[in-house]
Symmetry: C2
């Protein structure tokens, strides 16, 4: 059985990869991925064969990986963050039907919701929802419905892909949906370039978030009704009865 | 400034820890944690000082960690999964007010939603919600409301703490809430002992999940309306227009 691994390499900083991911990449003959991600790991794995495709050529990239694996080469498809969160693990498993001799194995990694949360403090300590604002594969009406449902359920929310050149006002529209259910003073956070050079963060209110500048390297966090700014960090309590907890 | 790290060690298997977590633990003088988690890492860090408290003594455990750090010892509080998801990062940041000379830093890790998803296939590839059924700190009515909101928004859902001895019928009640919005044929998954000895998984329908046996070592996944079982794995597509994607 030929092995094809879907490997999450974390946010970018090499050290945020798991020991398992490093071990799998070390054992592979071929590493396939989007050019930017391959460049993040290339220097650490000298002597490997690297294959890259530009952004958005996901199916082509997966097929390339299967074809290498079918030649008997142990192959890894790398993804930023976790391969199973807006990553390639799903497409590889779906396309696996066409390659019955290849076994796809998913190696989890630290997705931006987790690495970004760690930068801000602890915004996702309790129940949370993760929503992408990219409408490339999902109708914008469904994205807005999910924002409304997450707001109504008082989830902490992590927003991926808050904007792009073509979607410059999507975060503003998303905030307008949230503001129908949640206080404009809801504590929010922005993290840019998580685990990479130039990492920065900002804590702000939902009202301020509506007018904030973001880009494709920004991850957005919206607190639940109990989230607070504490000593410059964004912190969600573990529940709604802290007295009870502390008295235990 | 004394350093206190909140370190997520992943699901249990040592290799699912990040390189950063390993480096931080190697650099520490003292490692504090719930007994079971400390036992998972102890052999890898000989010569460290280890301090443990039993389950549910979280505040005592945090205070112990701060007191070690205040002595000038570099200290790590370890959590299973990610320290920022139902972990100790939040409580440490809140209690930090009482220890102005200690700086709390959060080191992210692979939470059970991600490691369990990788075992099942790719159930969380698109928008998802994470909900704990533990009502120790959250009113059961709010938990049910969140389940309803997540179901209405067609999120994939990862359920932590599906049952315990005292809450043996909570998963059944949760499924009844979901079944008001979602088809009984919704593809679901169970993973037991993620990243530990005896790891196992099962793919089943929401109707079957309602009557499934779970325990405190089980993590539950409920697919969205597009989730499918593909070659024995649970896979959620990345969106709702796969034709468009494949034609790109």
């Amino acid at each position: 059985m030929n092995k094809l691994y879907a490997v999450g390499i974390g946010p970018g900083d090499y050290e945020k990869m798991t020991l398992e991911a490093e071990k799998v990449l070390s054992s592979c003959d071929v590493i396939v991925g989007y050019t930017v991600y391959v460049d993040l790991v290339r220097e650490h794995f000298p002597g490997k064969e690297f294959l890259t495709t530009p952004m958005r050529r996901e199916e082509e990239r997966c097929r390339m990986a299967f074809e290498e694996a079918a030649k008997g080469k142990t192959t890894a498809m790398i993804c930023s963050g976790d391969a199973g969160v807006y990553g390639m693990a799903g497409l590889l498993l779906e396309m696996g039907k066409d390659y019955p001799d290849c076994q796809v194995e998913v190696i989890p990694g630290v997705t931006a919701a987790l690495s970004g949360a760690a930068v801000l403090g602890a915004p996702l300590i309790h129940d949370f929802a993760v929503i992408s604002l990219s409408d490339l594969l999902t109708p914008w009406e469904l994205i807005k419905k999910r924002l409304a449902c997450a707001a109504e359920g008082d989830f902490s929310i992590c927003i991926y892909n808050p904007s792009s050149r073509k979607r410059s006002d999507y975060l503003r529209q998303a905030c307008d949906v949230l503001l129908a259910y949640r206080s404009p003073d809801t504590v929010c956070g922005l993290v840019r370039n998580i685990g990479r050079e130039g990492q920065s963060f900002r804590i702000l209110t939902l009202r301020e978030l509506r007018d904030a500048q973001t880009d494709m390297f920004t991850t957005v966090f919206v607190g639940n009704s109990a989230t607070r700014e504490t000593a410059g960090r964004m912190v969600t309590p573990r529940g709604y009865h802290l007295e009870k907890q502390e008295g235990r």
